[in-house]
């Protein structure tokens, strides 16, 4: 019990640290942070419930006033801005990623976690992000998606990375991958 509690707290910190480093750049010149990679990994490694809790804890720290979102953003303002939909989607993304990883056990973990991250961390997350922009900015869903399109290739790459990293962790520390530990 102490272990899964501390894992949740440390994963919240990990997502924050991954957001602080602009990790890689696509040819498009769009800076891609590794923060959503952290959200995907939280679900894939900790499982649905704990992954979502880790993300919620991070959002709580942001709301309390810490600049922990990608690019050093933070504070209460980000929750009323046009990208607030992504923040609402973050815990759901981790939950869906974890839910799929927990249940789909017949295939290689890299493939399972990669697909789970693609569904949870890209499809579900963008559904929330686009809905948020439609509500806050008065754009149509297609317009919102167009405005966000520069980020989608990077997020698909991150889903693949999340799959590979999850399998590597599973091989190095099998009992730390709580989504598979029962």
């Amino acid at each position: 019990m102490e272990r899964s509690f501390v894992f949740v707290a440390l994963f919240a910190a990990l997502i924050a640290v991954l957001g602080l480093v602009p990790s890689f750049m696509l040819i498009t010149g769009v800076p891609i942070s590794a923060q959503s990679l952290g959200v995907m990994l939280a679900g894939a490694v900790l499982g649905a419930r704990r992954g979502a809790l880790a993300v919620l804890l991070l959002l709580l720290l942001v709301a309390l006033g810490l600049p922990l979102l990608a690019g050093g953003r933070g504070g209460l303002g980000v929750f009323v801005g046009p990208t607030a939909g992504f923040l609402v989607g973050f815990p759901v993304a981790a939950f869906v990623t974890g839910w799929i990883t927990e249940r789909w056990r017949s295939m290689d973990l890299a493939l399972v976690a990669g697909v789970a991250a693609l569904v949870g961390g890209v499809l579900v997350l963008y559904a929330f992000g686009v809905a948020g922009m439609v509500l806050a900015a008065g754009l149509s869903p297609v317009q919102a998606l167009t405005a966000l399109s520069a980020f989608i290739p990077g997020d698909i790459i991150k889903a693949a990375i999340a799959g590979v990293v999850t399998r590597a962790i599973w091989q190095a520390r099998p009992d730390a991958v709580l989504s598979r530990a029962h």
Partner: protein, 209 residues
């Protein structure tokens, strides 16, 4: 850990955190149905005046926090201009600008401890219902304490990468970083269990009440 709170105190620092947060919530409810650009423009000016009354430091920090928003607002405005709805675009952009700036002002003028106090106040009914809310404060403290430590480890990984490779460090570092975090977590969990475990956080809490 570097919070966004301004060191230099202003009259807004003295206003109770709960009142400031309630004011933001009220502003959101009041402003969202407004469709007259002049009314929303006046709201934005009012927020700017609030920043001004909190001092030059607050104004500078507030503008810095709004910088990531500029590109987003430009895109939103451009779409609305293309659709021939300049007035609606203006209303939406001003509304977002004003509300985000107002919410940021609360963050800039409220200490982390005071924010935590509001959180505890909001959680009090759950605590009385017997829910283990004491561990939430522990989780917050643990995460805040871990971020700089983990950040140092990420720096060390990057240094090690640069010492060996000519290419920029990329997502390859995610794996060792996660591994370090998980090993840390295992040690912290053992230490926590040795000190009475999670149950201890709740019993001390009850004694204090």
């Amino acid at each position: 850990m570097l919070a966004l709170t301004l060191e230099q105190r202003s009259w807004l620092h003295a206003v109770p955190a709960g009142a400031k947060m309630a004011a933001v919530a009220l502003a959101v409810v009041l402003v969202v149905p407004v469709t007259d650009p002049a009314v929303i423009g006046a709201m934005v000016l009012g927020v700017a005046a609030l920043y001004g009354s909190a001092g030059a430091m607050a104004l500078r920090a507030g503008l810095r926090l709004l910088r990531p928003l500029v590109l987003m607002l430009a895109i939103i405005m451009a779409w609305h201009l293309l659709m021939g709805e300049a007035r609606l675009g203006l209303v939406i952009c001003l509304r977002i600008l004003g509300l985000v700036a107002l919410a940021n002002l609360v963050t800039l003028t409220t200490r982390l401890d005071d924010m935590m106090a509001v959180l505890e106040w909001l959680m009090a009914p759950l605590t009385r219902l017997g829910l283990p809310t004491g561990r939430l404060a522990l989780a917050v403290a643990l995460a805040i304490r871990t971020i700089p430590a983990l950040s140092l480890k990420a720096d060390a990984l990057r240094e090690a990468w640069r010492a060996r490779a000519t290419r920029r460090p990329g997502p390859q570092l995610a794996f060792p970083l996660v591994l370090l975090a998980l090993d840390d977590a295992t040690h912290v969990a053992e230490a926590l269990r040795a000190r009475g475990g999670l149950a201890a956080t709740e019993t001390t809490k009850q004694k204090r009440n």
